[in-house]
């Protein structure tokens, strides 16, 4: 049962990031803009944030096991609808329903966990860890499925997985009393932990950049395949899992939260000042981000839940804070990086033209190459172009051949620089979001955080 509950939370929270690697495919399939396709992510997180607390209340009213099964049922049906959707509007609508079902399942799981793991504190740790693991693994899993099968398969695979988890909880739901006793307990609901939830929201705003922008940079900026990107970003969840095993050694949640925030801010700032365009260059930042994620999410979630009843309601508040933060991060950073992409596209065009004009190749070859490069730009319709085909075949004259090879390297360098720089400001803003999470912690009473 404990595994099933952990899987329920992991599945739901993985969904907040699982489509990140699929977004480029989705916006190509539906022929929409980046600003439009971002709603596949935003809608899910927005609805999850808005429904987390009411869903937790509903779960307690109908009985947490019944709530978990019902939530997973809705999640399953909505996942199927996502996978079979024929338009962006239907996909976004199905994502909203999926989020509502997910909120019900995740809130109910937190209410069920204490009986399974022995204490509310332990339940909070398991619940937070399952969510963090799901969110961290989501992009890599989504990337693998997108390339090996299709982006639709992400949702079609989730549906039977959620169904299996629901079936595992079903016997408990059938045996559940529900009703009056739980309704009476609702009156004891205390105020949510303001500082911890506010910090969770700000940290999540920064994490949205880590999970979303990094993947876009790898696929759209540096033109890696979804599988390459999935493997590349797997450093982050590995770091989170390793750190998570040792995080409990430091009992002071305030220390863990501050350390985690510093690591997150450092990792995000590191991505904002990448010295060159290569996957290994992102690894140090990912290590810091994973470690920071494991430290800060567990510390803040434990704090938000400790000594507060009922757990499901306060767990709902943490879900609401986290996913509202993700929405905030996406809504602030998307216009920044789309604007920077346009600026850097123009800068790359100028730098590339300069490189072509100054290239050590003959005039006829220069004009022929310019035409082939222009054709590549047209064929890629505004995206970062793959320029290698324009240089194929290389000229037979040795001088022109050497000149073209040097030019190809120079043009690729300028494109890499432009693509990387286009994301810099957004990563730095994300780092500021993470650092801002220190403020509520600083102002919170020492006794509470």
């Amino acid at each position: 049962m404990r595994t099933a509950l952990g899987m329920a939370v992991g599945l739901v929270l993985a969904d907040s990031s699982v489509v990140v690697l699929a977004l480029p495919e989705i916006y190509r399939d539906y022929n929409v803009s980046v600003s439009a396709v971002i709603w596949v992510l935003v809608a899910f997180n927005l609805v999850l944030a808005a429904t987390a607390v009411p869903a937790a209340a509903i779960a307690r009213r109908v009985g947490p096991a019944r709530g978990a099964v019902a939530g997973l049922g809705v999640f399953t049906a909505a996942s199927l609808a996502c996978g079979l959707s024929g338009s962006l509007a239907v996909l976004v609508a199905a994502r909203c329903v999926q989020a509502a079902g997910g909120a019900l399942a995740a809130g109910a799981a937190l209410e069920l966990l204490p009986a399974e793991v022995g204490s509310e504190r332990r339940a909070a740790i398991v619940w937070a860890a399952a969510g963090a693991t799901g969110a961290a693994i989501g992009p890599a899993a989504g990337g693998l499925l997108t390339q090996l099968v299709s982006w639709q398969s992400i949702f079609l695979v989730q549906a039977p997985a959620a169904l299996v988890v629901a079936l595992a909880i079903l016997p408990k739901a059938r045996a559940e009393a529900g009703g009056a006793a739980i309704r009476a307990e609702l009156r004891r609901t205390g105020r949510p932990h303001g500082a911890a939830n506010l910090a969770l929201g700000l940290v999540s705003a920064g994490l949205a950049a880590a999970l979303f922008l990094l993947v876009l940079l790898l696929i759209e900026g540096w033109r890696n395949s979804p599988i390459e990107a999935a493997l590349a970003v797997s450093v982050l969840p590995i770091s989170a899992l390793v750190t998570g095993r040792f995080a409990g050694a430091v009992a002071d949640v305030r220390g863990r939260a501050i350390a985690g925030i510093l690591l997150l801010a450092g990792g995000l700032a590191g991505l904002g000042v990448l010295p060159h365009a290569s996957i290994p260059a992102t690894f140090p930042s990912q290590v810091l981000l994973g470690a920071g994620l494991a430290l800060v999410l567990s510390a803040l979630t434990e704090t938000a839940l400790e000594g507060r009843a009922p757990q499901a309601i306060h767990g709902g508040w943490t879900l609401a804070a986290r996913h509202a933060g993700v929405v905030l991060g996406l809504l602030v950073m998307t216009p920044v990086f789309t604007s920077d992409l346009t600026t850097q596209r123009a800068a790359a065009e100028q730098a590339g033209t300069a490189a072509l004009l100054d290239a050590q190749i003959s005039i006829p070859e220069k004009f022929s190459l310019a035409q082939r490069l222009a054709d590549r730009l047209t064929a890629e319709s505004g995206k970062v172009p793959v320029i290698a085909p324009a240089f194929d075949p290389l000229p037979s004259a040795p001088a022109d051949r050497a000149g073209e090879l040097a030019l190809e390297a120079d043009l690729q360098n300028q494109l890499d620089r432009a693509a990387t720089h286009a994301f810099s400001a957004s990563f730095l803003i994300a780092a500021l979001f993470a650092l801002a999470a220190l403020l509520p912690i600083a102002f919170a009473r020492r006794a509470t955080l």
Binding site: L262, L263, A265, A269, G270, A354, L357, A370, Q414
Partner: protein
């Protein structure tokens, strides 16, 4: 590990990552800037018609871009489209900027010793009387401009001392 040790270690790791990235050039990892067309570019050493023609074209682009207060690259990008070429061919002011660029290029070639004075004077005369719609193709193919002097183009490297 103590709470204080964890915070100090995390802060140090974060600062180290950012400082190393900056030291490796992270703050300036962006596309190369373009040069000021009004600043004379060095006339590249070399010989042969193709070399002289390339230098003439590049210098002409610089001169025209300087007249228009845009970068050389912006001018090239605008000349790449049919609409851009039409605008330059039909607007006398734009055409004059191209003509001024070509004259400057001939001056530069003469100063560098790549064009003899007599040839340079002849080319200036040709450029001054070129119809507006031929200025763009002349900048693109300065070798053709040399051919307009009425000499055998393949023999020009010899005439020019190449």
């Amino acid at each position: 590990m103590s709470s204080r040790g964890l915070i100090v270690g995390s802060g140090a790791a974060a600062a180290l990552l950012v400082l190393v990235s900056l030291a490796l050039g992270g703050a300036s990892y962006e596309p190369a800037g373009v040069g000021d067309p009004c600043q004379s570019r060095q006339w590249q050493p070399g010989s042969g018609l193709d070399h002289v023609a390339q230098q003439l074209s590049l210098s002409a682009l610089d001169g025209a871009a300087c007249e228009l207060h845009v970068s050389r690259e912006t001018l090239v990008i605008s000349l790449a489209s049919p609409q851009g070429r039409q605008a330059f061919a039909s607007d006398p002011q734009l055409a004059d900027s191209l003509r001024a660029g070509l004259i400057k290029a001939i001056d530069d070639a003469e100063s560098s010793g790549d064009l003899p004075g007599l040839v340079a004077a002849g080319l200036r005369e040709v450029v001054a009387n070129l119809p507006a719609d031929q200025l763009i193709s002349t900048i693109r193919n300065a070798g053709g401009l040399l051919g307009q002097l009425g000499v055998d183009v393949p023999s020009l490297p010899n005439i020019l001392g190449g």
